[in-house]
């Protein structure tokens, strides 16, 4: 008890509390808009001649009345659940494909010394530097015209997996670097093939980093909407973010629906974050000091 009180009155706690408030405040606006049952944020309407506290209270993002209408509309007006399912399929496949590609590449970058290694790593970094805005047309040409993967999830999955690849490779390579060589050598002596070692030893050991890369790939696929709506020619194949964008247009935007939808869409990601929380910190930078 005493410790708790001591904690609460420490500067660290004050700092965290302050930061927490700043982080949560804009999010509360999203939540309150979603639950308001309306389409626009209520403007801060100060009562005439309001006192200081009343004025302050007016800044608290709470809907005037709570309503689930927005959620109901989002779930019923469109085949939301179906699109959610599509998104899950696409995002999970992206994660799997992305992990397969990035784990093998990162392993090679970490464990083998070969001509072109440095340059290869640099190439991965460069790919992050090219503005995505201009990639649209060439990607369309390649995926839809050349590969004939328009209107398929495979096309989307490939593009997403490759988009997330550079970050994943860098991440995993850093982590693999911290794993001791001896473990692999030991397995090598025991007669395991390179692949067995990779699959049975390295991958289980790199679980934190793999969790983080998986999360990253998943989010890349989960939130993207432009490519998804351009590649898909069949509404039953849309992903959730595409569905959400129907609520936003130049003339009139149903921000309430959009907020409710965003919250629904964020829930799986937040759950993933919670589930992977214990890996997150170690995965992003474990062993960096050792290595």
């Amino acid at each position: 008890m005493k410790r708790v009180l001591g904690d609460i009155f420490s500067w660290r706690f004050a700092l965290l509390l302050f930061a927490g408030l700043i982080v949560i405040y804009p999010l509360l606006w999203v939540v309150s808009l979603a639950f308001s049952g309306q389409q626009a944020l209520q403007l801060v309407a100060l009562p005439e001649g309001a006192g200081f506290w009343q004025q302050l209270a007016a800044l608290v993002p709470l809907p005037q009345q709570w309503s689930l209408d927005n959620f109901r509309a989002v779930l019923t007006e469109q085949p939301f659940m179906r699109w959610l399912g599509n998104s899950l399929v696409v995002a999970l496949s992206t994660t799997v494909v992305g992990l397969c590609l990035s784990c093998t590449a990162a392993y090679a970058f970490s464990r083998f010394r070969f001509p072109g290694r440095e340059r290869g790593l640099m190439l991965f970094l460069i790919s992050q530097m090219f503005p995505a805005v201009l990639m649209l047309i060439p990607l369309y040409v390649i995926v839809v015209q050349w590969l004939g993967l328009g209107n398929t999830w495979l096309g989307l999955v490939l593009v997403y997996a490759i988009t997330a690849l550079p970050f994943c490779v860098w991440m995993l390579k850093g982590y693999f670097d911290t794993l001791p060589y001896e473990i692999e050598e030991s397995a090598l002596l025991e007669g395991a093939s390179r692949f067995t070692i990779f699959y049975r030893i390295i991958l289980p050991l790199a679980r934190p980093a793999i969790a983080v890369t998986a999360l990253f790939s998943f989010m890349t696929a989960w939130n993207e909407f432009i490519l998804a709506s351009i590649f898909m020619d069949d509404e039953s194949r849309y992903t959730v973010p595409v569905g959400l964008r129907f609520f936003v247009s130049d003339y009139a935007s149903e921000w309430g629906f959009f907020a409710a939808g965003s919250i629904l869409v964020s829930i799986p990601v937040i759950l993933l974050f919670l589930a992977l929380q214990r890996f997150l910190v170690s995965g992003l930078s474990a062993g960096a000091v050792k290595g």
Partner: protein, 369 residues
Amino acid sequence: MASIEFKRVEKRYADNPPTVPGLDLHIRDGEFMVLVGPSGCGKSTTLRMIAGLESVTSGELWIGDRLVNELQPAARDVAMVFQNYALYPHMTVFDNMAFGLRVRKQPASLIKSKVEQAADTLGLADLLARKPGQLSGGQCQRVALGRAIVRDPQVFLFDEPLSNLDAELRVQMRGNIGRLHREFATTSVYVTHDQVEAMTLGSRIAILNRGELMQVGTPMELYNDPDNVFVAGFMGSPPMNIVPVQNRGAGLKNALLDLPRADLGGLAGELLLGIRPEKLHPAAGSPDHWPRLRAKVEMVETLGAEMLVHLGDGSERMIARLPGLQLLTPGQTLELALDPDAIYLFDRHSRQRIRTVQPVAVAEAVPCT
């Protein structure tokens, strides 16, 4: 089981000078060979070449009747115990020990019986379900040993397996390893920088320095009959006293000792004289014909039954291992006698042993006054 043969084996990385410049070494079948030397002497590289973890740049490496230069590690049928154990952290002790067998697709029942047998031998039976993170260092090392023996390989390789353990455990594990070798009589190659381990474990010891093989032999051969200054200085604790002496035509002399009537045949110039600390005896009670030396006591390390007396006057230093009976104070002058049978002479430049002259005979011929 198999012998191991190095024929002019060379290892170099890129364009650097070779780490191992042409090694010739024969390790006999069933032998426990210890590779010892200071760090960076190439002993680990040599071991890893046997394992196949390092490629051989040139020369031939044979295990049994197979030339293994190009053979994959897995195909060499060797097992290795690493300094940091290299256990798979995500597997239980059982799985760790079973891994090699599983990879080789052995039947599950056989794996179980083999692992359990090894676990019994090493006293790991109660720990089979644990993961390495829950084990102590000694236990980890036993698991690593167990993992090696379940596979029943042709050769055991040990890469400084005890250096991460504390002194007591080290003694215990040393015993374990010795016992295992007696039991299985598998050819073993053991790398260490600790000469005590080398002495206690090795059937033979190979001493390496900067990639060069200094001497190979049984522990006592190396101890009693070192080929060069390096071996003499490396074996024994504290090491052999090696002091420069000047050959003035008819005697050896330096700041501490004077062997005036030594007959050195045709040898001339500067030499090194070596004598082990335990071969310096209190002058009183030593045979009269033994040469004497008088020196100031610098420091005394009392070990109970005996003591190490550091003698010297600044430029030359010697250590004597004396019975711990006398009371000595620093600054006091002490007279000691040298066992003439245990005096070694080395060439100062080549640092090789000079066997053509026996200082013993010289000393005997000239009774001391």
